[in-house]
């Protein structure tokens, strides 16, 4: 176990090292922007995976944690003019509180009930946001609601990269900030998975009744896994808001939820690297099909289906069986 942990830490180091060299290739702003976006998605999916994959709590409303984090940052930036750096702890806290709500709502639920109830919570947050139209602040001629409603929030400040690095290099700042967020997210995942906490989570997933009878307080560890994931998912939401410059209820829409969920399942849930691999693969597919215009969604869905139909454990599971298959004849010979 200790060697596995060192191996994963080493891979993380290499991975972050390689990614951090990417801007040196002279990527266009578009490519850098898209990579930044997907790095943030990977950070979110890694944390989601702790709950969904490692602890086996089938929460698909996880984006609610992301959303409250993003809104915390955007609202603090907007109403208090705070530097977005100072809003990040608040984003983490917001993610934590929302995660505890999720944990409480799902304590006694199993399987598909968890799926639908977590979805219902995300949809409730969504509905409350989009129907929030009461006048809260007035600018010149327009009236804005507290949360920005369906429009979402924008012009709430940024991380200051534009002043620091100039217009043309600001995306670099965003890129590296996102990369740090991803590294942090994966690091947390590694530390958790290989600690007694991670073992308790896996035990709960594998056999909940047995885990309880071995002294693992199920609800406590459900709450803990939600809390850990909530802190870092909320934080990612805050970073995302600052990097993208706008934040709205769209992150809670079903297509977004399922897009991120498919990253995890395609990569291989419950593994450290599955979410990352899934994000990379689906990002490439999505971008690769951009030229198909009206048929892009179809092509994406078709490829997604083929991967899921052929690889029950996702790509990481596929790699594992491939390696087993490749190694086994040599042993015999």
């Amino acid at each position: 176990m200790r060697s596995m942990k060192s191996r994963d830490l080493l891979i993380l180091l290499l991975f972050v090292g390689v990614l951090s060299l990417l801007p040196a290739l002279g990527l266009s702003r578009y490519v850098l922007g898209q990579i930044t976006l997907f790095i943030l998605w990977a950070a979110v999916v890694s944390q989601w995976n702790l709950v969904f994959g490692v602890a086996g709590i089938l929460s698909i409303g996880h984006m609610a944690l992301f959303a409250v984090g993003g809104y915390a940052t955007a609202l603090m930036g907007l109403y208090f003019g705070m530097s977005l750096w100072w809003t990040l702890p608040v984003a983490a806290l917001a993610g934590l509180l929302m995660s505890l709500v999720m944990a409480f709502a799902t304590f006694r639920l199993r399987g598909a009930y968890v799926v639908v109830v977590t979805l219902a919570i995300a949809m409730t947050v969504y509905q409350l946001l989009v129907t929030d139209v009461a006048c809260f602040r007035q600018t010149q001629s327009v009236c804005y609601s507290f949360s920005g409603g369906a429009r979402g929030l924008s012009r709430f400040g940024d991380f200051g990269f534009r002043e620091l690095l100039g217009y043309s290099s600001a995306p670099l700042g965003n890129f590296y900030l996102s990369l740090i967020m991803l590294a942090l997210s994966i690091l947390v995942a590694i530390m958790v998975v290989y600690s007694p906490y991670g073992q308790a989570f896996k035990a709960m997933r594998d056999n909940e009744v047995c885990a309880a009878s071995r002294g693992i307080e199920i609800r406590k560890y459900q709450a803990i896994v939600f809390a850990v994931s909530g802190v870092f998912t909320g934080l990612s939401g805050g970073v995302y808001a600052g990097v993208i410059g706008t934040f709205g209820p769209q992150v809670l829409e079903l297509p977004t939820l399922l897009f991120l969920l498919s990253m995890m399942v395609v990569g291989g849930r419950g593994t450290i690297w599955g979410p990352v691999v899934g994000t990379i693969v689906l990002a490439l597919i999505d971008e690769g099909f951009r030229d198909l215009a009206a048929w892009r969604n179809t092509a994406y869905a078709a490829v997604l289906s083929i991967i899921l139909l052929t690889l029950p454990e996702g790509l990481m599971g596929g790699f594992a069986s491939l390696r087993k298959w490749a190694l086994s004849p040599r042993k015999e010979g």
Partner: protein, 292 residues
């Protein structure tokens, strides 16, 4: 009094629609533990089937329902052939099918967008007029939808409880391994269940869009509502889905009339979450004896 009749008629109309659209979801969950996110796609396929038959072929309006059922059956068949038969009973079926059916509906919506067009169409399965009795005033269309939904649910109950197929479905839903060992042709049963679910979803698509409109994304909202209804009723329980349909419709309408329309959906969602916190298997869910 006017408020009360308003709430009552709205509840009946809304409840019937919820019931029609959620029973097929309940059927699939109850029989083969499949959370079918392509339910919305089947609804849309049914809605367009009706348009094709009535507006396209120029047949009388009431054939729309048949058109919707046929199109829905084709949709269910396609879902079976392209996805379910390959992974049913394999590892992670429950999870993979969620994303696969989501992919299926993406493709369906895209195909409609690109081949038929994103234009909004009128559902031709319509009747004019109102039924008035004192203070009570109900549109014929509402009555039609309520009657068709009731008939559909009744027929489904007959199929499940009185036919040979129903017996096999119940055998499969109770214990798949045992059913297989006892010579039940499991794949054939699943195939028929999928087609049956397709027919019901297709028909409910026609009923749903008769009070709204037909467009490629018309199935999304009903899918969400049906999921909530099924969970509240207890997943897989058809009577539960029925009861939950009317309970939810009543709650939603009452909130809309009293608190305001915008609170209708969020409040009912919250209530569902709270109900499940105290009754983890829904109103009519099977309380399973956990054994290790």
């Amino acid at each position: 009094m006017e408020l009360l009749t308003g709430i009552l008629t709205s509840t009946i109309a809304l409840g019937a629609i919820y019931a029609a659209s959620s029973v097929s979801l309940a059927l699939l969950w109850g029989s083969i533990s499949m959370l079918n996110l392509a339910h919305g796609a089947l609804i849309v396929i049914g809605a367009y089937g009706s348009v094709a038959v009535v507006t396209g072929l120029g047949l009388p309006w009431w054939t729309g329902l048949l058109g919707g059922m046929i199109a829905g059956a084709a949709g269910g068949l396609l879902l079976y052939v392209s996805q379910v038969r390959w992974i049913f009973g394999k590892a992670n079926f429950d999870l993979r099918i969620i994303i696969l059916t989501m992919a299926f509906s993406t493709i369906v919506v895209d195909l409609i967008n690109n081949l038929i067009g994103a234009k909004i169409l009128r559902q031709p399965f319509q009747v004019e007029g109102r039924f008035v009795l004192g203070a009570l005033s109900i549109g014929h269309q509402t009555l039609l939808v309520v009657c068709c939904s009731a008939l559909m649910v009744l027929l489904l109950q007959l199929v499940v409880h009185k036919t040979n197929l129903g017996r096999l479905i119940r055998a499969v839903s109770q214990d798949i391994t045992a059913a297989r060992l006892n010579g039940v042709p499991v794949q054939a049963v699943i195939f028929q269940v999928m087609v049956l679910a397709g027919i019901i979803s297709g028909a409910s698509g026609v009923l749903l869009t008769s009070s709204t409109t037909v467009y490629p994304g018309a199935g999304f909202d009903p899918l969400l509502k049906a999921l909530i209804v099924c969970v509240l009723g207890g997943l897989g329980s058809i009577p539960g889905a029925l009861a939950a349909s009317f309970a939810l419709a009543g709650l939603e309408t009452t909130v809309q009339y009293t608190l305001g329309v915008k609170w209708g959906f969020p409040v009912s969602l919250l209530v569902v979450v709270l109900v499940l916190v105290y009754r983890p298997t829904g109103l009519f869910g099977r309380q399973e004896l956990e054994r290790n």
